[in-house]
Every structure is written in structure tokens, then in C-alpha cells.
Symmetry: C3
Subunit: 200 residues, 3 copies
């Protein structure tokens, strides 16, 4: 129930961020909606397609579809107010990437692949949507250059989850611990402006 | 037979538009051919991959492969004349997106997914090739910002098709009506310069 | 054994080229690593996904995963020296595309698709990773406009391989001949600065 709520809120926030990104680029309503859609479902789609889990999950997941259309609707109506709510949106976005990473890693670990690949696919579930959003908007993906400490907590949290599963900790608690870890690191990184060193 | 002809003409026109887009960017012959190929098969490939219909259709569809190579050949030989034939090309392109949307929606509805997803995949069959073309050419996809009323008729036509299938109208006539609808709306939109409001 | 060595060296060089491309764009360490990863596995992933060979190969291929992480590590430590080793890197890259094309064509021919599609997927195995790298770095893909005679030898070599398989030459020798052909053409093209005519 908690997971489902975070899933829906996270997806809606991803859709909103896609729509607002399109708005910055002066796209029309259709362009905004499509970018909202691919931002919300891009990461999970890539994971499912690479794993061969098809039809990919969102195609038949009505709550997720409603969350996306709701996100587009909210972004369309309230886009000027949303800019003032950056902190709230960042919070839901962080909840979203924490959950998506752990769920993505979980799904991937259940297939016959290397654990490191499962962590990579888990991280991709969380961040690839944003990468597609930025590429379609003709930008170098923010996550690659913003020094935002955005994907690194996901990778670390994915590995933490994998390690916890090898301990007596049960699956649910492993997920909760790994998600809290990702959430905390990301919030601390934003709060204290941690940076990944730029390549020189 | 009519559907097959439209399929082939539409695919060839997609390939031509990809090649001409590459020409504008001063790419070489190989670059032009690859962009022609992905423009022609990109949308259907994304649909098939997300649905898990693999190997994706065009890989073993010889008429479609010939249509693509024919389109590249025509674009190479006649690229200066083709620029004067924009109206004819627009006509075939519109026939193409009408057919691709309805066929794409049909294939998707036959899988166990939400109807709205089927319409989205149908539309994607028609427009995603052009999105990939523009992204590879380092442009924001035209369909997102050109106010061209290009994808919206596809979405509406996809929904119309889905509704018609629930009526006593048979599958073939449902397809013909939905295609004619998409075709008419798109032609009217071009003729009377309909615009989707830009986001402000 | 020879093939495996080339596979690993080629993959590592692809990862290095992705990391160095990201370095040129002043991305951070994470961005560089992701671009290294997609450069190394992008082509093979697209082939596998279009064919429906899932989970895609690299996810459970430990030597390849080590080659990628090794490539990232080498690129990080020695990136200034690597710029002086362009010739050596070009050699491994050329070995890599020769092998990837032939192996990709081989895998594809074993599926029920048109031979020309198999050659296209084989070429895509070799060059699509670089295309994704350049697109993520917000550049028009080098292979489309650099006049580099990069993909053309792959296409020709893929067809040569397909033809050889129809002769009494056995599979292994067919692969070796086709790879040598791709390697030689590419090296000659670089040595004598062959160009594909730009479209005018």
C-alpha cells in the first residue's frame, strides 16, 4: 500500500517534470504530453525490454496510466504554481527514484543475470526516463553533468539491497532499508550541495 | 491489397523524408540511408518491442524492406525534384500515418494491455520514426513543436477505431472509417492551418 | 579464444571511447561511466531486443561486464595518455567492429528474418553504440557525417559473410575471411583517407 502510493506519486511527479521540461522548450501540448509520458515510463520500459519482460509493465497498469494523465493535467493547469513547489516535487521525485531503483533491482535479480547488471537496470528504471526527456528536448542529460548526486545513491542503494537479501533480513525490510538509504543520501547531497568531481 | 499499397507507399515516403532530413544536415550517403531506415521502421519497432512481438515485423517483411531501399534510391536520385513535390509527398505521408496508426492500434489491442495504451502504441507506430529522425539529426522533434496537428488526429483516430470495434461495424470498415477520419482531420488542419496552442 | 580476446578488447575500447567522449563534454564521472556502458553494449542490445533474444546478452556476460568496468577504469586513470594512443585504440576499435559485425550477422541469420536485415543488425551491433554515445552527448552521430568509411565496410563484410556461408567454406573460416575483409577495408580507408561523397 505504501509502495503503491509512492509508485503513483513518483510516476505523477516524473510526468510533471517531463511536461515542465517541454514547457521550458516552448513545445505544444502534444509534445509536452509525450515527453511527460516517456519521462514517466522510459526507465521501466528500457529495463523490461532488456530483460524481455513484455508487454512492458505500464501498458496494462491502469493506476500508473492514471497517474501519468493526472500528472499531465496537473502540470497543464498549475504549471506556474508548480515552479514554486520545487521542494515538494523534489521530495516526491526522491521518493520515486528510491522506490523505482529498489523495485527495478528486485525484478532484475529475479531473472538469470549478473547482480551488477540487476543494479544497473534498477538504477536505469529510476533515471533513464529523465535521460530520454533531456535527449528529446535536445539537451545533454542533466543527470550526466549536473553534479547532482542523483544516480550515484541509486547505484549504491541497489548494491545495498542486493547485499541485504543475502542476510537474514527479509525482502520487505531489505527494500525499506535500501530505499531509506537512497532517500537519505540524496536529500543530504542536495542539502549540503555534495558534488561528484567533474572530469578534468 | 489497398492496405498493402498504402503500407508500401507510406513506408517509402517515410524513408524519403528521413533521407531528405539527413541531406539538410549535410550527412553522407550512409548517414542518410540509416536515418531513412530508422524513420521508416522506428515507430513499428518501438511498438513491437514494447509489446514483445519479436523478431520485430520489418526484419522479415520483404515488401517493406524493398519499399525502404526504393525510397532511399528515389531520394538519392531525385532529391532536388522531390522538394517541389512536397504536396504529393505530404499526401502519401498522411495516408501512411493514417494506416500505421490504425494497424498499430489493431496489433496492440490484440495483446492484453489497456486500450489507451493500444492507442498510444498505434500513434507511436505512426509518429515515433519521425521523432527518432529528428533526434538523430540533433533537432527537437518537429512533431513536438511544429504545431502541425500531426499526432493529435492519430490519437483521436485510434480512439475512434477502438470505439467502432465495440459497435456492430466490422473490423475492416472500422479501420477504413478511422483511417479516413485521421486523413481528413490532418488534411483539413494543413489546409486551414489549424494550430495546437503553444504552452504559455 | 581469439574471438573472445577480440570481443573483450573491442568492448573495452568502446567503453574507453565513450568515457573519453563524455570527458570532452565535461560530464562528471557518473555521466562518463554511463556513456561508456551504453557505447559498449548499445549496439548488441538493439540487435538482441529487435530479435527478441532476451534477457539481452551482456546482462549475464561477466567477461564483457569486466571489460566495460576495466575500460572505464583505464579511461579514468590514463585519459591524458590515451589521447596519444589514438592509433592503437583505432586498431582495437577496428578489430572490434569487424568481430561485432560478423558475430551480430551470425546471430541474426540464425533467426527467421531476411538476410539483408541480418546484415543490417550485424552492422548495427558494431556501430549503434557509437550512435547512442553521440546522441547522448548532443552531437549528430559521427558515423553519419564524418565521412569515415566506418559502417560501409561492416555492411559489405556482413554481406560477404552471408555469401561465404552459402559456399563450401566452413562457418569459422567464413567469419575469419569476412572479419579480415572489414578490417582491411577500414584500415585502407583510414590510411588513404577514403571518403564517402557528401550529399550535394
Amino acid at each position: 500500500m505504501l509502495f503503491l502510493t509512492i509508485d503513483i506519486l513518483g510516476t505523477a511527479v516524473f510526468a510533471i517534470s517531463g511536461f515542465l521540461g517541454a514547457f521550458d522548450k516552448r513545445l505544444d501540448f502534444f509534445g509536452g504530453s509525450i515527453i511527460a509520458l516517456v519521462t514517466a515510463i522510459g526507465g521501466g520500459s528500457i529495463r523490461d525490454v532488456l530483460l524481455g519482460v513484455t508487454p512492458v509493465g505500464w501498458l496494462s497498469n491502469r493506476p500508473i496510466l492514471y497517474a501519468i494523465f493526472g500528472g499531465i493535467f496537473i502540470a497543464l493547469l498549475f504549471r506556474k504554481h508548480l515552479l514554486k513547489l520545487r521542494k515538494t516535487m523534489m521530495l516526491f521525485d526522491t521518493l520515486g527514484i528510491s522506490l523505482f531503483t529498489v523495485l527495478g533491482t528486485q525484478v532484475s535479480l529475479s531473472m538469470d543475470i549478473a547482480p551488477v547488471s540487476a543494479v544497473l537496470l534498477g538504477t536505469s528504471s529510476a533515471v533513464a526516463g529523465g535521460v530520454i526527456r533531456d535527449t528529446l528536448c535536445n539537451e545533454i542529460p542533466l543527470v550526466f553533468k549536473g553534479n547532482l548526486f542523483y544516480a550515484t545513491p541509486c547505484i549504491l542503494g541497489g548494491f545495498l539491497y542486493w547485499i541485504l537479501l543475502k542476510t537474514p533480513v527479509n525482502t520487505e525490510w531489505s527494500a525499506i532499508i535500501a530505499m531509506s538509504f537512497i532517500f537519505t543520501i540524496r536529500i543530504l547531497a542536495v542539502r549540503f550541495k555534495w558534488k561528484i568531481p567533474e572530469l578534468v
